[in-house]
Symmetry: C2
C-alpha cells in the first residue's frame, strides 16, 4: 500500500469530474459534481481542491500517497505555464489554474486541453493500452482529438495539435461554413452537430425519411434510423464515416499511428459506424501507411478525461 496514486480532474462548464488512478491507469475512484461556474473563479478553484482531497481519501489511497494532480480544461491554454488563456465553456480568462491549485494542495499540478487528456486516457489504459503510438478522435458537439507518440502527448506550438475537427476534408462544392472561419472542416460533417445539420438539410430538401416525424432530431436519432434501414439516415451516417476515414488517411501519412481510436458521444453508435469509418480509411490511405493499422472504438467512455488527466504527470 505504499505505491503512489494520481488524481485527474475533468473540468467542464457543467460538470466537475475527479478520478483517482494507480500508476497503470486503473480508475480506483471517481466522483462528479456540478462545476457551479456562476460562483466565480475562486470558489470553483476551492471546490476543485476539496473534490481532489475527498477523492484521494474516498479511494482508500489517502492524501499522503497522491503524487500529483492533472486537469483537463476546455479552451485556449498556456500548457507549460499551467494557465487558462481563454475558455468559452468556463467563461475564464487569464486564470493561473496550476499555480492556484498547487497553492491549495501542495502537490505538483499540470493542465492540458480536454481533448488531449481524453486521448491520453484511452492511450494509457483504454483502447490504446500497450501501444505507444495512437491517435484518438473525440466526436461530440465538435470533433477534437489527441496524438500520443512514444506514450507522450503532442501538444503543438499553440496547443492546437490534434485539432482534427478543422481538417478541411469536404470538397468545395459540398462544403459548408465552420465556426473556425474556414469551409469544409471535418467538424461540419462528422460531429453530432454536423450529423444533425445534415438531417435538417435533408428534411428541408423534402427527403422522405422516418426522421421527419421527430420534433427535435439528435445524432442518436439519425444513427437509430440508419440502423433501422432508413435510406436518408444511412446516407448521412455514411457521409460522416467517409470523411472521418478520409481524415484518418491524411493523419496516417503525417504521424502514422499504430491505432486510431474513436471516442465521444457519436462513437456510441458502435461497430455499425466504426466499420464504415475503417473501410473509408483503408480505401483512402496508401497501403504502406495503413498496413497493420486499426480503427477501434474507445473503451473508457466518459471516464477517459479523468483517467488521462491523472496520467498527465506520468506522461510529460
Amino acid at each position: 500500500m505504499t505505491r503512489e496514486v494520481y488524481v485527474g480532474v475533468d473540468l467542464g462548464g457543467t460538470a466537475l469530474k475527479v478520478g483517482v488512478c494507480d500508476g497503470e491507469g486503473r480508475l480506483l475512484y471517481k466522483d462528479e459534481r456540478p462545476t457551479g461556474i456562476a460562483d466565480g473563479v475562486e470558489t470553483v478553484l476551492d471546490r476543485i481542491a476539496e473534490a481532489v482531497r475527498n477523492a484521494a481519501n474516498a479511494s482508500g489511497a489517502g492524501w499522503d500517497r497522491v503524487a500529483g494532480v492533472g486537469a483537463g480544461i476546455p479552451g485556449f491554454l498556456d500548457i507549460p505555464n499551467g494557465y487558462v488563456k481563454w475558455s468559452v465553456n468556463l467563461g475564464w480568462r487569464d486564470v493561473p489554474v496550476a499555480a492556484e491549485l498547487r497553492r491549495r494542495l501542495g502537490v505538483p499540478v499540470v493542465i492540458n486541453n480536454d481533448a488531449n487528456v481524453a486521448a491520453l486516457g484511452e492511450a494509457w489504459s483504454g483502447a490504446g493500452a500497450g501501444i505507444s503510438d495512437v491517435v484518438c478522435y473525440t466526436l461530440g458537439t465538435g470533433v477534437g482529438g489527441g496524438i500520443v507518440v512514444g506514450g507522450r502527448l503532442i501538444e503543438g506550438f499553440n496547443g492546437m495539435a490534434g485539432e482534427f475537427g478543422h481538417m478541411r476534408v469536404v470538397p468545395d462544392l459540398e462544403a459548408v461554413q465552420c465556426n473556425c472561419g474556414q469551409k469544409g472542416c471535418l467538424e461540419t460533417v462528422s460531429s453530432a452537430t454536423g450529423i444533425v445539420r445534415m438531417a435538417r438539410d435533408a428534411l428541408e430538401r423534402g427527403s422522405e425519411t422516418s426522421l421527419s416525424s421527430l420534433e427535435r432530431i439528435s445524432a442518436k436519432d439519425v444513427f437509430d434510423a440508419a440502423k433501422a434501414g432508413d435510406e436518408v439516415a444511412r446516407r448521412i451516417v455514411a457521409r460522416a464515416a467517409l470523411y472521418l476515414g478520409k481524415s484518418m488517411a491524411t493523419v496516417a501519412v503525417i504521424v502514422n499511428p499504430r491505432r486510431f481510436i474513436v471516442g465521444g458521444g457519436v462513437s456510441k453508435a458502435g461497430e455499425f459506424f466504426i466499420a464504415q469509418v475503417r473501410e473509408s480509411f483503408l480505401r483512402c490511405a496508401p497501403a504502406a501507411a495503413s498496413e497493420g493499422v486499426d480503427v477501434v472504438a474507445a473503451l473508457h467512455g466518459n471516464d477517459a478525461g479523468v483517467i488521462g488527466a491523472a496520467g498527465l504527470l506520468l506522461r510529460r
Copy 2:
C-alpha cells in the same frame, strides 16, 4: 579537444555522402564519393565504413572522439532494428545495415529514413535551430518530409510519418494518378516531377508560353519562366504553392509546429516561391493554428542529410 563528434552518412543510389558534426550540429568536415551500387552490398558497406573512418580523421577530430554513426537511407526501413527492408534506390532487400556497420566500426550505429534525417538536420542546426517543434518538407523528385517534436523525430508505426507527398490535397476534378495508387496527392503538383508534368500538360493543351521553345523542361525552367513573367509558368508555380500551403494548413491542426521549413531542389526558387506558399498556408489555416507560425526556406541545402544523420544518435 576532448568533446565528442558524430558522423553522418547520407546513402543515396548515386552518391555516398559523409559528414562529421560536433554536438551542436556544426559540420566540421564533409566528403562525397560514388556509392558504386553495382559492386554489391558487402563492398558498399566496406566503402561506407572506410569513408566514415577517413572523415573522422580528416576532420581533425580523430577516430577516438567519434561517439557514433547515423545513416539516412531511402526506402522502407525497420528503424528500431537498423534494417533495410526494401530500398528501390539502392536495390537492397533485407540488409541489416546498422549491425553490419557496427561490426566494421565498433561504435553505435543508427539509421533512419532519408527525408526524416534531412528534416532533423534542418531542425538541429539549420532553419529550425533553437526551435523544438518544426516540420520540414523536402521537395525534389517526390515530396518527403519529417516532423520534429521536442527535438525528436516522429517515425511512425510503419516509418511513414512525415510522408506529406501522399496527402490528398487536389480536388477530385483536377486530380491525377500518383505512384502510390491514390489520386490527387501533393506529390503530383508540388514536386519537381509534378511541376514538369503541369508544364507538359499546358504545352499539350497548346498554351502560349516561353516554355514551348525548350527541348526538355525542368522545374527550374518553369520557375525561371515564371520569374520572367510567363503567365502559364506563373500559374503552374502558383498551383504548386497553393497546394503546398494547403497541406501545411492541415499539418498545422494535426501537429501544430512552430515553423515550416521548405527544402529540396524546388525550394531553390527561393522567396519568390516561399512567399506564395506562406500566403496559401495563412489563407487555409484557422488563425489559432497559424498564429506565430512561419514558413521559411531550408538553410543546409544538400548538407541537411549528413548533418541530420550525425544528429540521429543525439536525438533518439
